[in-house]
Amino acid sequence: MIRYIIKRILIAIPLVLAIVCINFVIIHSAPGDPVAFMISGVENATPEFMAMKRAELGLDKPMYIQLLIYLDTILHGDLGYSFIYHQPVADIILQRLQATLLLTVTSFVITVAVGIFAGVSAAKRPYSRTDAFFTIGALGIYSMPDFWVGLIAIIVFSVHLHLTPIFGIVDPGLTGWDYWTNLLWHLALPATTLGLGRLALYSRLSRASMLEVMRQDYITTAWAKGCDERAVFYKHGLRNAMLPLVTVLGFQTSFLFAGAVLTETVFAWPGIGRLLYQSIFFRDYLMIQSLFLVFSILTIAGNLLADIAYAFLDPRIRYK
């Protein structure tokens, strides 16, 4: 098992390096030179300052040296200095990362739990009227832009029904129990919005996967030996139907984070997604490409977790 995990991690490393290289290419092919990039936001940079930055990046040296310098700084966790926030880029991102992870993980848990349950329920009575209703509903939801669902949800639930706060993550000046309930109250709407699109997808997939599994011989055996419906569906059926789902969950991480950017923008959620929106507004190129790097690493980490979860669920992979 440990060997398998280590192997997976080793496969992920070249991917991260590839993304750093893509970033390097983007910086160097952008209009203007890389220094203009580093100091986006500075109104009146002196020529001396520009020259200093140029030397730092090694712009006078050959391309591969520049790439090595770039790799070296990135691997030391140095993403540059933002002249808009007057702080190192890495610090700003780290401060905001927590909020994004809270939002994405919560929404992920809701989606997976509800999606799988809905899928299994639909698979119990396939081609029924309820099933058809869910199929059409899922297609509709799947075609909606996340951010639009968020806007409409705020108008309905916050503005008209006064059920949830309009935006933000937590009201200031709260401690202990009050702090956590207030946080949950703020979290409810964005997490649900973010989860909705993926919920449609997972429920469809788990339905399809369940239908496939329920045709297998071992399910017939389970029925024959007198298992009750619960045991057949959840113990024999779902456990096997989960396997393809976990792979898809891994692939879906990038969509989860893309959705987070849009949801955070709508709900003014103070995570790195909203940071990205603000950076686009301020034309803070350095921040934008640093965030591309961070989101890519998060996605690769998500894929890695899915791979490891897969090995936990499927002993055939563990012992190979």
Partner: protein
């Protein structure tokens, strides 16, 4: 050369025959497609949106760009008979902007999907047909592309290189082709060893002839279905980019209208409701068409 002889002797006759066969199989396809009510609905909706986009200058009741900045009695007007969907923060008519917005959405969706189809089909075909090292190299590349979070790549490139319509279409098209390449490769792999391909090879047909004339007509359908689904996802991507403030502000885009709505939806719900509704409807239509084509092309699926 044998392959030249083949080309000369079949010539016109063969072209006629293949046209006939294609027309017949298309009629069969259409017969099955037409039975699927959801798919027909999707197609009619796309036709409606298409006419809306083409006829925009004629049918829109107001000028979508005309602002009334000084006149406070004309901004944020709720929907009424004069302005069917109200007006926005500059006093522009939302209904007219909705009609014009169909142009950008359809254009980006169709062109990006076409680029993706062209690149994906070609690389997938080469990969599946030749196999070996070429296949390995292309598939490595595809795998890497599939792990990179595409949306962020598109966003970063558009943010840095500018969000003109051409840029957006190109960048979306050139980043979403790997799934098409995979489908096409799988088909080519399975057809490569079929009898009719071996027959063609044995009478001396060249690689290009086999790839484009023999295998492609059989192998292209999954990629076409995928292209239809990609139109929908490209439209969603464009609207998300515009919503985040990227893209060309001189065009009318539904995503951009939602960006406007972001700062004023508390007082003007109509600015948020209608553009999103249109995006959803267009994307549903293309997804319905994709599903319908899939069902019509795989008769076995239905009979299960």
């Amino acid at each position: 050369m044998a392959s030249d002889n083949l080309r000369i002797e079949s010539g016109v006759q063969k072209a006629k025959r293949s046209l006939k066969v294609q027309a017949k199989s298309f009629a069969e396809f259409w017969r099955r497609y037409r039975k699927n009510r959801a798919a027909v609905l999707g197609l009619s909706m796309v036709v409606a949106f298409g006419s809306m986009a083409i006829l925009a200058p004629i049918i829109s009741p107001h000028n979508p760009f005309e602002m009334h900045l000084q006149d406070f009695t004309r901004i944020f007007l709720p929907p009424d008979n004069l302005h069917l969907m109200g007006t926005d923060q500059y006093g522009r008519d939302v209904f007219s902007r909705i009609i014009w917005g169909a142009r950008v959405s359809l254009m980006v969706g169709l062109v990006a999907a076409a680029i993706s189809a062209a690149v994906g089909m070609t690389l997938g075909a080469i990969s599946g047909y030749y196999g070996g090292r070429v296949d390995n190299a292309i598939m490595r590349f595809v795998d890497m592309f599939l792990t990179i979070p595409t949306f962020f790549l598109i966003l970063t490139i558009v943010a840095i290189f500018g969000g003109s319509l051409t840029n957006v279409m190109l960048v979306i098209g050139l980043t979403i082709w790997p799934s098409t390449a995979r489908l096409m490769r799988a088909e080519f792999l399975s057809f490569r060893e079929k009898e009719f391909v071996q027959a063609a090879r044995s009478i001396g047909a060249g690689d290009r002839h086999i790839m484009f004339r023999e295998i492609a007509p059989n192998a292209i359908f999954p990629a076409i279905v995928n292209a239809s689904l990609q139109v929908g996802s490209a439209i969603l991507t464009e609207s998300a980019l515009s919503f985040l403030g990227l893209g060309d502000p001189n065009n009318v885009s539904w995503g951009f209208m939602l960006n406007d709505a972001l700062s004023s939806f508390l007082r003007a719900w109509w600015m948020a409701l209608f553009p999103g509704l249109m995006i959803t409807l267009v994307v549903i239509s293309f997804n319905l068409i994709g599903d319908g084509m899939n069902d019509a092309l795989n008769p076995y699926l239905k009979e299960r």
